[in-house]
Symmetry: C3
Subunit: 382 residues, 3 copies
């Protein structure tokens, strides 16, 4: 099912046939060629939009019946096309061209800001790693994808945390993000291979993802410097669950916290099944990890998941002050005391992480998960 979504969307949107040239404007033609230059495939929602505009541009209003309930992809495409009913072909071509241009311009911006990184660390698309005085900074820098975390970024963050451990010139590690979102969590396109439907391939993918995730989370458990989180906007999934291993978290009042595991047929990670009950008690932990409520920054503060909430306008100044405060404390004491505070939990955290990854690898291979993701992708198009 997943395979269908991805394949069909790709086929129809990206490699468009050319037998309509007669009716098309020049900018529309150029746009179709430019689409192929994008360094990264657009989101499914964008692809659907492109599909609909393309169809409206070339065939006008949608014809025929809406596909059946189980044809997720067919329905999504039909619905997107239908939403444009009444739009002229010229207008649709114009919109198509504009959309492609905006994608292209975003793409170039990303390419230009070739993520800054430190000597010895492999540069990673979507991640900045820098040092400023006593501060080791890791910054999520993939705002056009809401800082969704790719496999490269998982490894990049892990490597940065390990590098910070070894770095003697800095005394505190800061994780922040550029753009409106803190992070949309795991990039669901990471599951692309699963779309094949082949259980063997899915199993392989699940095993790979399990190892990727386990190492990522372990690098938080074994981090030795105070770890500060600066949450300027919505945080989702894995970007929420790891917060229990931070030492100080500042949130903007624009931040929200959401861990929609059950609706996606998945299960909690980031050692949250251990840290969340410790932070807020098991009943409140269930609200987030079982019922999957999205909570505000104020609620997260009440629950002890963040230390401080400030108005968005004061976020940067407060963040700078907090980080500065940490960096004036004796470095060795910071490291010793941070380690001491986590000492008793360390084994439990490592064990919990391993167990969570095992459970999640099973979930990824379950029908419930495949159906839930497919349903989610379809729903989100409406």
């Amino acid at each position: 099912m997943l395979r269908n979504i991805t394949k069909q969307l790709s086929k129809t949107c990206i490699g468009a046939p050319t037998n309509y040239r007669f009716f098309s404007s020049e900018s529309f033609d150029v746009a179709q060629k430019n689409l192929k230059k994008l360094s990264e495939e657009p989101d499914n929602s964008v692809k659907l939009q492109l599909y609909a505009l393309f169809k409206q541009s070339t065939s006008g209003d949608v014809q025929g019946n809406r596909p059946g309930m189980m044809d997720f992809v067919g329905r999504a495409k039909y619905d997107a096309w239908k939403a444009l009913a009444g739009k002229t072909k010229e207008q649709a071509q114009d919109d198509y061209a504009k959309l492609v241009n905006s994608l292209l311009s975003e793409d170039q911006k990303v390419a230009q800001s070739s993520s800054a990184t430190l000597e010895g660390l492999k540069p990673v698309q979507g991640l900045e790693v820098t040092k400023e005085g006593k501060i080791f900074k890791i910054t999520l820098n993939r705002p056009q994808k809401f800082n969704a975390i790719t496999p490269d970024m998982y490894n990049g963050i892990k490597d940065a945390l390990i590098a910070s451990n070894a770095d003697k010139t800095t005394s505190v590690t800061v994780l922040s993000a550029n753009g409106a979102y803190f992070s949309a969590g795991n990039d669901l396109t990471n599951f692309k291979k699963a779309a094949s439907g082949d259980p063997k391939i899915i199993k392989e993918m699940a095993e790979d993802a399990k190892i990727l995730l386990k190492n990522f989370v372990d690098s938080f458990v074994t981090h030795e410097k105070p770890l500060i989180g600066l949450i300027q906007g919505p945080a989702v999934g894995i970007s929420v669950t790891v917060l229990g291993m931070f030492d100080y978290i500042l949130a903007s009042d624009k931040a929200t916290f959401h861990t929609p595991f059950a609706p996606l047929g998945q299960s909690p990670e980031g050692a949250s099944s251990y840290t969340f009950p410790l932070i807020m008690g098991p009943l409140r932990a269930s609200e987030l990890l079982l019922v999957c409520k999205k909570i505000t920054a104020a609620k997260a503060h009440e629950y002890g998941l963040v230390n401080e909430v400030v108005a968005d306008s004061e976020f940067s100044a407060t963040a700078a002050k907090i980080v500065e405060g940490f960096s004036t404390l004796p470095p060795e004491s910071l490291r010793v005391n941070k380690t001491l505070l986590r000492h008793l939990h360390r084994e439990n955290l490592l064990k919990t992480n391993e167990h969570e990854c095992e459970v999640l690898a099973q979930r990824w291979q379950s029908k419930e998960c495949h159906q839930a993701i497919a349903a989610f992708l379809t729903r989100s198009k409406k």
Copy 2:
């Protein structure tokens, strides 16, 4: 001492002598016969009331001195009788008849609502077990006794939780209660045998109760579906202590939470010595489990013991919405995630339960406990 209370109250109230017939109204005579038809003995407080009305009906105002300090039962009876001083014999006979009639009518209601139950489950007086769509419902249904839990109900709840685990058609388990109280906790008449005063019999009773309790609490620890608690009124003792093993709790603003162990010479159970410090920290846990403060629903919410408090008038609607919300989530995910969240605590919970039951069995055999219960029963009559 306990033996005396029970025996003497039974003798004087239930099997009344007949040599006063001369003065008595017909309804009074009928009432005395009807009293013997009750399927369950009334509470001690009701028995005292019956005793006092009977004495007032037949002998008029109390005579003689108040019994000595250590004659708990004698004093209680004297005081109850004295409270009616001035009431005419006719009025007392009338009140007696009315009281018996109300007991009888309550008794019949209970008998008629032969508790609904599921195929394969033994029907239990005071407990309803039903299924509605995706919801497995366990309902305390002994409102005339404030849903105090009898040995049969302990086993009935345990069996229902186990049955829910095995049931594939439902995805969430709900525990609620009928009547004004959620539950008065352990039915103290469960200790009747202890009234013999014979250490051997008391030890036997303590051992039996220990096993009953251990299996009951274990069935919460090992429950695999999300467990929702709907607390519509006051909750006492064991009905509070098990709440730490629930996954979501809604409380009415009429609910209160009270665990009066120390004053009764007893000790906490329900794995609360583990879950309460985890939920609210050890200092707040002491307020409930050591100092035995009764707390409001608002306080319980502040302490993380309930997820949500609503006005009593909105209770049913909110409860329905919460349960509905759970039942729309993928069943397998719910089960996997609930189990995952409890995974690390499971061994600790089982060990804590075992230890608590051992300690409590010792307490039940202690003089302090016997004296405290006797004193409590006497006090509550004034």
Copy 3:
């Protein structure tokens, strides 16, 4: 460095040369002699004040340049003297005499209130141990030093807790304090020996202090009666970290809670690296133990570190009511239930204490700690 501070301050302030007699008032002369009669050396801050007044009295305004950055002691003395610039010699002599007289009068008050203690317990300067009805009372009584805890007091409190365990006539233990402060924590003059700079001596001192601290904290872990803390004023360091092992804490709104470990190059003790995350979650625990924020009584209440906060004017009455409430509960139940509530944590607390003491002994031998303490002592003179 520490050696220098202590030695130089002692030399210049306490044993003053006599070649200025010509200019001095009689009361000034007497004051210099009286200074030697004090049973305990004054605080460094008082010594600096004495030094400055003495210099101003005999030499007038300070001359010459401010000593270099690394000469902590020289600078502190220079600054203190300079602060008096413009004051006449007569006025300075007068102030000197008044200051000595106030020290002397405080000293005598302390000597008179030879600390009350129980039979079988060694009397300890600065500590009262008494029994009142069902209450075993331990009172910090060194208000002139803000109830800073000396080695004798560490052992005295430990012995008192053990004695309370063994005492059958009391059912609850209360720890309170006389004066404005609850306690300034560890008396930093305990580190005097470290001032030698000799690594062998410092190591010895660290090992001794480690054992002293370990036994002290263990006596809280193994205490079997409910332990009530009455915090009437600021609490610092070890007097805050042990609070997680109390069963009920009342705080005045004048109380504050401060654990400045990192700035002093030290690390948390009192099993707080275990109890604080349990009480308030790891992120809030970091605010106190890592960032070393000083928090108010209201914040401590919000974080679950105290059970109740009252206005200072109502503190004594509320304290009496709380203690009375405990003492009416059945003693055996109190002991059994207190032990039960701590049962599962006991091993973890003992292990945590041992680990914390090891880490702290290492810290005491670190350069960072020595520099931080020296810098702190200098700073606090300004």
